[in-house]
């Protein structure tokens, strides 16, 4: 059983990335969308919360915010909308941290 943890708020604005990260287990995946993509910037304080987690980031939301892929933590996976659908389909449940 695996869960997709969907986060859409900046890690510098509230605790959602932190909470999701600490509750994740096993094969769970975190998908960062909208303002949550800022969590994946490698030199940012928040990136430490993603260590050891399976993390994907939505590419169009990164591009909109001017974050080049070379600024991301190396183990983060950049996906498109089709990849988003694949993640929803391949995990048993989706938990949205709104």
């Amino acid at each position: 059983m695996s869960m997709l943890h969907l986060v859409n708020k900046s890690p510098y604005e509230n605790n959602n990335v932190s909470t999701a990260s600490s509750i994740m287990k096993g094969d769970d995946v975190m998908l960062l969308i909208e303002d949550a993509v800022y969590a994946a910037v490698k030199d940012g304080k928040a990136s430490a919360m993603l260590e050891g987690r399976k993390v994907s980031v939505l590419g169009p939301d990164l591009a909109a915010r001017g974050i080049a892929e070379d600024k991301l933590a190396s183990d983060v996976d950049v996906i498109d909308y089709a990849g988003f659908v694949d993640l929803v389909e391949s995990n048993d449940k989706v938990q949205s941290w709104l």
């Binding site: 859409n8 708020k9 900046s10 510098y12 604005e13 909208e34 303002d35 800022y38 910037v41 490698k42 030199d43 940012g44 304080k45 990136s47 590419g59 169009p60 939301d61 591009a63 909109a64 915010r65 001017g66 974050i67 080049a68 600024k71």
Partner: protein, 135 residues
């Protein structure tokens, strides 16, 4: 006698996730028409508003970031960016747009609009204003 007041617009939110950043820009441009002494501050997630290379084609929203480079033409020449906020987010000034204004008193010499300030310095800037607007 001058009726000019010092206005500071404080921007603390990321663009696109909410409407605050865009609304702030609209209000700033409207306010600029009233010939006040306008300054902008970007702190916390607000520093993300100035990121260069924003491309919103994939999310179906308007990319309003090019508008920041027009602020100089509206005589908005003081843009304060807080150093601590950039550092916490793993960013430097190089990640932001290079914003300039042209000084008519010096043969239209191009000058930097962005001033990198510490939180303490930004506090001093806030203290010397007549009016603060928060977005």
């Amino acid at each position: 006698m001058s009726d000019t007041k010092k206005f500071l617009y404080i921007n603390r939110r990321a663009p696109y996730g909410t409407i605050y950043a865009w609304e702030s820009l609209e209000v700033v441009l409207i306010g600029a028409a009233f010939e006040q002494d306008v300054s902008l501050a970007f702190m916390d997630d607000g520093v993300y508003q100035l990121m260069k290379g924003q491309d919103t084609t994939g999310i179906g929203m308007k990319n309003f970031s090019p508008t920041y480079s027009a602020l100089g033409d509206y005589e908005i020449t003081k843009i304060y960016v807080e150093k601590e906020s950039l550092e916490e987010r793993g960013l430097t000034l190089d990640d932001l747009q290079h914003l300039v204004w042209e000084d008519e008193d010096e043969d239209w010499a191009e000058k930097d609009s962005i001033r990198l300030v510490s939180r303490a310095e930004l506090g001093d800037v806030m203290a010397e204003q007549d009016v603060l607007f928060n977005f």
